[in-house]
């Protein structure tokens, strides 16, 4: 009974987590040129590759988030979404260190500037992904829950 309960919690947390990325991906996918502008503002990627990044990243969030919500290849989805969060964390830290004052293009429900709050938010998402992955692995290896 307890195991079933914890599995329900795990799925719920995965659905919410996937949903956040689907929402974020849709926002970017509906406004690709605005997202490209946000990517360009970071001044980290060569200009010819900004379009490719702006085209693929939203789809990566959408694909990872949708599959996670649907329960397809959940651990791989968590790897993808966790990797995205880790990359973005690195980008935020580099940008903060360079002193650039730009919109992070990351706020889920409101605009946010690159700064400690954005890094904290991304850190929590990264921890969430890591925790879910660890939970899934434990479950798969028969270590509980």
């Amino acid at each position: 009974m307890q195991i079933r309960g914890s599995r329900i919690w795990l799925r719920l947390l995965e659905i919410v987590f996937g949903g956040l990325f689907v929402y974020a991906g849709l926002q970017k996918n509906y406004h690709p040129y605005e997202f490209a502008e946000a990517v360009l503002a970071y001044q980290l990627i060569p200009e010819p590759l900004v379009g490719l990044t702006a085209a693929v990243l939203p789809w990566l969030e959408l694909a990872g988030g949708l599959c996670l919500m649907a329960g397809l290849k959940r651990r791989s989805c968590l790897v993808v979404l966790g990797f995205l969060s880790a990359m973005f964390m690195a980008v935020l830290i580099i940008t903060l260190a360079r002193g650039l004052k730009i919109d992070c293009g990351c706020g889920l429900f409101f605009q946010q500037q690159v700064g400690p709050a954005a890094i904290l938010e991304d850190g929590l998402i990264l921890l969430w992904a890591a925790g879910l992955y660890w939970w899934e692995v434990r479950k798969e290896l028969g270590g509980g829950g």
Binding site: N29, P32, Y33, A36, E37, L40, A41, E47, P48, L49, V50, G51, L52, A54, A55, V56, L57, P58, W59, L60, L62, A63, G64, C67, K73, R75, S76, C77, V79, V80, F83, K101, I102, D103, Q113, V137, E140, L141, G142
Partner: protein, 179 residues
């Protein structure tokens, strides 16, 4: 049987992680295919090196549509207005950025402050006075939002300085701090 054998666990874990990475790679490929199919024009413009120009064109079109009737001033015009000392400069950036550095004598007035009715910066300012509003850089809309709102409040000589504080600072024009 295998699942409960602790000796097999490291090997199983390795296999499991490798399998997860392989599927993650597959998801990446799928995302690339869909992204390229849906947004090929954007990718092509970027690969051709025309992204910046294209974004500027789109930004101008969007602003012309959204902020019709808001006048703008260039960097040099803004500098002239400051030197003449007649215009009131309003900084539409967040308060922390304003406190760090701003155009001399500029007052802080963000779109959020206007929405909340916090307009102390405008106390005693005549409706006919020349006002120049700026924000951080060329792609921010805060200056236009504030300028539009001020026009709707009856200020007749409002202009947005679109190049923003970044261009001002890079041009080596004077700045002030409140820190």
């Amino acid at each position: 049987m295998l699942r409960n054998d602790p000796r097999e666990r490291p090997l199983m874990l390795r296999r499991l992680v490798l399998r997860d990475l392989a599927w993650a790679g597959f998801i990446l490929v799928v995302a690339c295919v869909f992204g390229l199919l849906q947004h090929w024009p954007l990718v092509r413009i970027s690969l051709e090196g025309n992204l910046r120009t294209h974004l500027e064109k789109l930004r101008t079109e969007r602003r012309e549509l959204k902020f019709q009737g808001v006048k703008t001033v260039s960097l040099f015009q803004a500098h002239d207005l400051l030197q003449q000392g007649q215009a009131l400069f309003l900084d539409a950036r967040p308060v922390e950025e304003y406190l760090e550095l701003h155009i001399p004598q500029a007052l802080n007035l963000t779109p959020e402050m206007l929405d909340k009715g916090e307009i102390q910066a405008l106390a005693g300012v005549a409706h006919e006075r020349q006002i120049v509003v700026y924000c951080g850089q060329v792609n921010c809309d805060a200056a236009l939002k504030v300028a539009e709102k001020l026009q709707s409040l009856g200020y007749t000589q409002v202009a947005a300085f679109l190049a923003g504080f970044r261009a001002w600072d890079e041009a080596g024009y004077p700045v002030d701090t409140k820190k």
